[in-house]
């Protein structure tokens, strides 16, 4: 159940055997969600946090006029709302972008961990810090990259993150979003996203067919995206 989370945490630091056991015992419930189902509602005050075991989920906010902005994409092994443990009130919603399998961890148990397991606590803290680093990278992408480069950057990021949790097959990975949803990620209209995709298609850097993305030229894609994975902290060191 928590294999992906472990792969995730272990990309930053060693997780000891007792810590692993402890984590797996923390799962007090699991559940599956259908596409478009809300996993956590905006404004709610959950008493548990959600670990994404499998599938794609998105954090989002709605504007008064009905426009949606997706602020993060989550994949297997991501602790999608560990935040709620300390923030208490959800300032955004989380929705399933594919069928999702999730595990719930009780906030009381997480608090116990924070009282008794300093190293593990730091790893969980780190997990939320990486989230923040990804947010910053997205801000940069929205503010200063062309849409073409922004999209390329997103694909690079997802590819690397999926690799960590073994969800890639060579240069291929499952990407279940619709164009409308992807537009909500990039903060542009569907029409413009579609046109951006066409430009990128002509450059033959990747294909996106039947919910599968295949990277055709990793070097050129990285160049276009100016992708530097430093912000993902993918190196094992004592934390």
């Amino acid at each position: 159940m928590i294999e992906s989370l472990l792969l995730n945490l272990q990309s930053h630091d060693v997780v000891t055997e007792p810590e692993r056991t402890l984590l797996s015992e923390l799962v007090w419930r699991e559940r599956r969600f259908l596409v478009d189902e809300d996993i956590v509602a905006e404004g709610s005050r959950p008493s548990y946090s959600t670990l994404l075991v499998d599938g794609f989920a998105a954090r989002y906010k709605f504007m008064a006029d009905g426009a949606r902005q997706i602020t993060a994409l989550h994949v297997a092994g991501d602790f999608v709302d560990l935040h709620a443990f300390l923030l208490k009130t959800m300032d955004h919603g989380i929705v399933a972008m594919s069928p999702c399998h999730v595990a719930f961890l009780d906030h009381g148990d997480l608090k116990d961990i924070s009282e008794t397991q300093p190293h593990l606590s730091r790893l969980l803290w780190l997990d939320t810090l990486v989230d923040g680093a990804v947010h910053r990278e997205w801000i940069v992408a929205m503010g200063r990259r062309s849409k073409k480069s922004h999209l390329a950057h997103l694909i690079c990021e997802l590819y690397v993150r999926l690799q960590v949790v073994r969800r890639t097959d060579g240069f291929r990975f499952h990407f279940p979003l619709t164009q409308l949803e992807l537009a909500d990620v990039l903060g542009i209209s569907v029409v413009h996203l579609n046109k951006t995709l066409q430009v990128l298609r002509r450059e033959e850097l990747f294909t996106w067919i039947n919910q599968m993305i295949t990277i055709l030229d990793w070097e050129k894609l990285q160049d276009l995206a100016q992708f530097d994975p430093t912000y993902l902290s993918l190196n094992v060191e004592a934390r």
Copy 2:
């Protein structure tokens, strides 16, 4: 020295007397920076974290073409790079936007805190989580708000954050950025920022003269910005 940090933390939860003492003893050095000086360099691996005692600082990233995107603005009481404690490598730089007074806290000492002071550790963790919440709000602003509304939102946010650390005088506060720097915050060109400012000026929601912003109509400004401070977690509860 750490009064502002305490005001900051206490806006979320009670900080006990021993915790306060502990925090103040953690400051192992202080320093002043001039405008435009780098407080922390991108790519560095600092062995201490920086607490902003007074002034304005910005986190930023440069693109290959020299364009800059500011990903966060920090004010007195903000723990500007607490991240580095666990992320180790700075994925962005931090620059002084005004003369800055900062305090340094050693990572070794922070680690001790994380081993022995669970509640205080959670408060520090929370501090970084609020940072993340602000990032998300900025992503939403960049993706789905008009520039007018984005700017209004930024002013609302800064006003509320400055109020927490007692840096406001009625509806006035010091705002030392140039238009060029503000453009780097919003991710637009200076020219366009200037024109956006003019439109807002005509609506008389606020003035910005001599580095001082005065909010003239808080209600209308909030409306325009669709500002909802929930994401700042400004309520005292056990964390």
